[in-house]
Amino acid sequence: MDITITTNKLEKNSLMKEALFQLKGNKPAIIGFLIIVSFLIMAFFAPFLTPFEPETQDISLRKMGPFISNHILGTDDFGRDLLTRIIYGSRISLTIGTISVGISLTFGILIGLVSGYYGGWFDNIVQRFVDIMLAFPYILLTIVIVALLGPSLTNAMIAIGISQIPSYIRVVRASVLAEKESDYVTAERSLGASNTELMFKSILPNCIAPIFVQATLGVGNAILSSAALSFLGLGAQPPTPEWGLMIASSREFVTSAWWIVTFPGVAVFLTVLGFNLLADGLRDVLDPRMRS
């Protein structure tokens, strides 16, 4: 047993090390990583980065253009500093991204693992249910769930999390099916490891690569979806500095104040791009088929 576990750990360590090493040479992934880190810094240190408050209004400063005063990106129709609102908005978007992916990950891993490991009738029922959930276009499912729960940021998070669960179940189950017949699992089983041990200690760590890629992509997607929900009035409510909501309330200014429309969108775009770039790089590095 000792021998098996040591090799197992060694392989895992070297895989992670190799992945990190290869990621260093992957320029797009590094750019993605840097973008994400910048937004994280913005989110953590928001109050230190700007002298203004995100919700303080000053009607005398309404719709001031960008780059002409100390309001670098200009002000919105209530005279609120746009850059400040974007900086504070990163807190909301990153929180939604992480929490909703957390929800999908927790349920996706649990259900996918059990379903793939045990198979049989449970697996059958889960798979039919997943089929049905995937028959709904994802964004529609999200909109319906949040509309039923009532429009709010928390419900948007829950809705995004729930509607992503099926794809995580698929990914986890597929890798569990591939892993569970491996020699190391058979060996550990013959040495008396329990089902729970096998599932969580042996199989799961070896399925992490595709799950990790999916989760990275998932954060970007969740940020896009939450912006869409807020845009439709189903997510964050005013005066929250949420990017999607900021774009929604800028709609009437397409003719008069381009900056109010443009900058919050750029923020969504850059964050999602960051996660997509990193996910692409991770996939190249972690998926052996892509590596060739």
Binding site: F136, P137, I139, I143, V144, A228, G265
Partner: protein, 338 residues
């Protein structure tokens, strides 16, 4: 072949059944009394009771479900609370606008996407490849509704090239024939020789189709590139090249044909997704399609309309996937034989 189609069709029934059941329970088990939510806080208890009875909400859940299924089988989606019209009729009125928009978005994204993908693959690791793949990644990272607003700002407001929304110049009064305005315009052009309806319909289509088509375009370009790279490495391509066949023929006739399989799958999948993605695009462009209609139904808590709309969109999505599967088996015999 027929056996495969029958097999796929038989799998369709449980999926549709599941979708309809899920929609029912999602709405039935949602927190709050739908009748109360629909009428608002100020409605009297009698009014609420009346609506409850009208919608059958006073019966036990399982009875409601039975009645609902019975109605669906008869293709009866009930009446909209807001307008009092039959839901099926309202859907029929709004459906062509969405399908037409989705088709044009798909035409745009398929042609441009495949072209960019092929170009990227043939010029692998060049700046063209790098530029188009970066562009593709940017395309999938963009919020559709924001892109739509930026397109309006640049091309409608500043350059005054395209209208900001709608399907047709309101000054042109015409009775739709099929509901697909571009097609209707073509029919009118043939019948009367007047091109203005056709031009106006096309003119209104450009920006919404680009906005809606950007994400699929980016995805198609990426898939085309990777699929082409795989094919271009194969021996028969090398043979064709060494035989002195023109590069363009090698790429478009020999390589692309075999690279098409994954591309077809992704096109089908994206087409289905466009139906739902249209909710955002239609809202921005004031496009009177199914997406915008469902969104307003959700806003108004018009449950029969919401149920009907979701069922129709999901079924269309499932059916498109079925057609893609069948098409796929036509071009790839390995699938139907397994």
């Amino acid at each position: 072949m027929l056996k495969y189609i029958l097999k796929r069709l038989s799998l369709l029934i449980p999926t549709l059944f599941g979708v309809i059941t899920l929609v029912f329970f999602m709405i039935a088990l949602a927190p709050g009394d739908p009748a109360r939510v629909m009428l608002g806080e100020r409605a009297t208890a009698e009014q609420v009771e009346l609506i409850r009875r009208e919608l059958g909400l006073d019966k036990p859940l399982i009875v409601q479900y039975g009645l609902y299924m019975k109605r669906i089988i008869k293709l009866d989606l009930g009446k909209s609370i807001k307008s009092g019209q039959k839901v099926s009729e309202e859907i029929r009125d709004h459906f062509p606008a969405t399908i037409e928009l989705a088709i044009w978005a798909m035409i745009f994204s398929t042609i441009v996407g495949i072209f960019i993908g092929v170009l990227s693959a043939t010029k692998k690791n060049s700046w063209i490849d790098f530029g188009s793949m970066t562009g593709a990644l940017m395309g999938v990272s963009m919020p559709v509704f924001w892109l739509a607003l930026v397109l309006i700002m640049v091309f409608s407001v500043n350059l005054d090239m395209f209208p900001t929304g709608g399907r047709m110049n309101i000054r042109f009064y015409f009775t739709p024939i099929t509901g697909f305005y571009v097609f209707d315009g073509l029919l009118i052009l043939i019948k009367t020789g007047d091109p203005k309806i056709l031009f106006s319909a096309l003119h209104h289509m450009v920006l919404p189709a680009i906005a809606l088509g950007t994400i699929p375009l980016a995805i198609i370009a990426r898939i085309t590139r990777s699929s082409m790279l795989e094919v271009l490495n194969q021996d028969y391509i090398k043979t064709a090249r060494s035989a002195g066949i023109k590069e363009r023929i090698v790429i478009y006739r020999y390589a692309l044909k075999n690279a098409l399989l994954p591309i077809i799958t992704i096109i089908g999948l994206q087409f289905g997704l466009l139906m739902a993605g249209a909710i955002l695009t239609e809202t921005v462009f004031a496009w009177p399609g199914l997406g915008k209609w469902v969104y307003h139904a959700i806003e108004a808590r018009d449950y029969p309309a919401v149920q009907g709309g979701i069922i129709v969109i999901s079924i269309t999505f499932v059916l498109i996937n079925l057609v893609v599967d069948i098409l796929y088996s036509v071009v790839n015999p390995k699938i139907r034989l397994s």
